[in-house]
């Protein structure tokens, strides 16, 4: 267990709903995890499990129909004070985005504004958050483009997004995300839209920059191969809730939750680093509007017992290893 001082982000019982009144769909039922300073936490889960909604809730960027129903999003600022992001007002959030928390989105092709040069868009971060001259700004932008290994950085700064490939655009997004030296970077499947070789390059780049810039990363993916490569810690999500969190080796070697076991069993261990997609577990993710009572995974679980209809919550089963299963299947994978 980390001492709180080492923790940069701790999410406790986050619930997010879409829609109003009786029509509210609860997309996040119970999301809890902690991310250590300077570490990478991988948030994994099948499509629709709520990974993107979690990251948008952290950024205060939920669409108008969505809102945080309850939960705490404790974030430690660089001055050491802890702030609950859920309680921030618009101005507070604006100041937090950029230097505090930065985000790289899932869709590199559409996340850059087509009408501004990439240099403009990266430099705007400095314009917003740092008081530097425009010459300084241009210089920093070019340095940043060099840091993310874009060849011909000075010329590239004057390019428009449509003149760049998907991989280059994602590098631009990374440059934009990192230029204000964020304490926390949220990367929502930053490589899913890219082909495998580019994917490997981007992951290398992110690892290198993390060391150089000393930041914490919340890395969202549904690719267990990428998890093994990137993460220090892993939180596994299923149908809007975190069902297991542990250190990466612990998670792979002593898997405790049957859902995580299913995820891991569905890929050949030797191929982990090749970034293969997950083969889904038998059955399908339940609809958020028709979740079973108790454990949401029970209907697909080979170990399911009548007791599984009782409510479960994430509990520490061993030091630093949390699981939301009433049984304890340590190492049964």
């Amino acid at each position: 267990m980390q001492t709180p001082d080492d923790t940069i982000l701790s999410v406790e019982g986050l619930r997010v709903g879409f829609g109003r009144g009786a029509a509210t769909v609860t997309a996040l039922r119970d999301v809890s995890f902690t991310l250590g300073r300077g570490k990478t936490l991988a948030l994994v889960g099948e499509s629709g499990s709520g990974k993107s909604v979690t990251s948008l809730a952290l950024m205060g960027l939920l669409p108008p129909s969505g809102r945080i129903l309850s939960g705490r999003l404790n974030f430690r600022r660089s001055d050491g004070t802890v702030v609950d992001l859920a309680g921030l007002d618009a101005a507070g959030y604006r100041a937090m985005r950029g230097p505090g928390i930065s985000m790289i989105f899932q869709e590199p092709m559409s996340s850059l504004n087509p009408l501004f040069t990439v240099g403009d868009q990266i430099g705007e971060m400095l314009l917003l958050h740092e008081n530097v001259s425009s010459a300084q700004r241009d210089k920093r932008v070019i340095e940043m483009l060099e840091l993310v290994e874009i060849p011909g950085a000075a010329a590239r700064a004057k390019s428009y997004p449509h003149e760049l490939s998907g991989g280059m655009r994602q590098r631009v997004m990374i440059a934009m995300g990192l230029i204000c030296n964020p304490a926390l970077l949220i990367a929502d499947e930053p490589t899913t839209a890219l082909d495998v070789t580019i994917q490997a390059q981007i992951l290398d780049l992110m690892r290198r920059l993390q060391k150089e810039l000393d930041m914490s990363i919340l890395f969202i993916t549904h690719d267990m191969g990428v998890v093994a490569e990137m993460a220090d810690q892993v939180a596994v999500m299923y149908a809007g809730a975190v069902v297991e969190q542990a250190g990466v080796l612990d998670l792979f070697d002593h898997t405790r939750h049957p859902y995580t076991q299913g995820l891991l069993a569905s890929i050949p261990r030797d191929d982990l680093v090749d970034g293969e997609r997950l083969v889904p577990i038998p059955g399908s993710v339940p609809s958020l509007t028709a979740l079973p009572s108790g454990c949401a995974f029970a209907p697909r679980c080979s170990h399911a017992q009548p007791e599984c209809h009782r409510p479960v919550s994430l509990e520490e089963k061993a030091s630093g290893h949390l699981s939301a299963c009433i049984f304890d299947f340590a190492g049964a994978a």
Partner: protein, 313 residues
Amino acid sequence: MRSYLLRRLIGMIVVIFLVLTIAFVLVRLAPGDPASLMLGPDASPEEVAALRVRLGLDQPIIAQFGSFLANALRGDLGQSLFFNQPVTTVLASRAEPTIVLALFSLLVALVIATPIGIWAAYRRGSVLDQTSITTAMLAASVPSFLTGLVFQRYLATDLGWFPASGYGGAGAGFTERMRHLILPAITLGITNSALILRFTRASMLDILGEDYVRTARAKGMTERRVVLRHALKNAGIPIITVVGLTFALLVSGAVVTERVFNLPGMGNLVVNAVLRRDYPVIQGTLIVVAALYVLVNLITDLLYLAVDKRVKY
């Protein structure tokens, strides 16, 4: 880029040629002999024959068309039968009120429509959004002569804030002339703001849902900057189209407004020319309006090019 301009130029020449052809054919299509039509039922056969020769109507039709084209290219659109002056002179003296009215009312339409359109899209579903759509539909469905008459009655005649009609008379200074255009411009602007408002709202709604708008918010800027810098520039592209179209419509739509406010513009001129069977003037107006339309289209496309670097011609 150069080849694009060349293609556009050729396209424009083709359009102008077609317009000239239509203008030529139109007059020939009028039932009966143009010369006797123009002179009316009381003219003697000798007068008709003389006019036929003057108009070249005794020549074969192809030769007539040839000399019509050749003259038009030299800037000679014939003589007005009513004014006994070259058509170009007549048109030139009437162009200012129409073109300034079109520009002025476009400005009015933009000033009314864009802020409301942006705000309605930003607060979609709100009371303001719904009110603005309803009002826009209402404004678009009231004929401009009605709005014009109401303004004239209350704002000009009763309150005396604006001149009720005319263009200030001969020798009126620039300010005086513009003062006479205020009510007509507001009248025409209101009618046309409805279209621009709906376009602005629709295009803004699209853009506000884009991923890059979310990126802009994630950068930690104010909502004002998100909307006015990152969204509006993108939404502006479809808005340019509709503004271009509206402007072209304004020139022809000026007819009614000019009549209501008795402005000596091309709209009034062409209505009178129809009543007086002044065919050369009708022809000339058709050609000038078409040329303006083509020009505005070209400007619209060049504006695209300036705003959106993705557009490659």
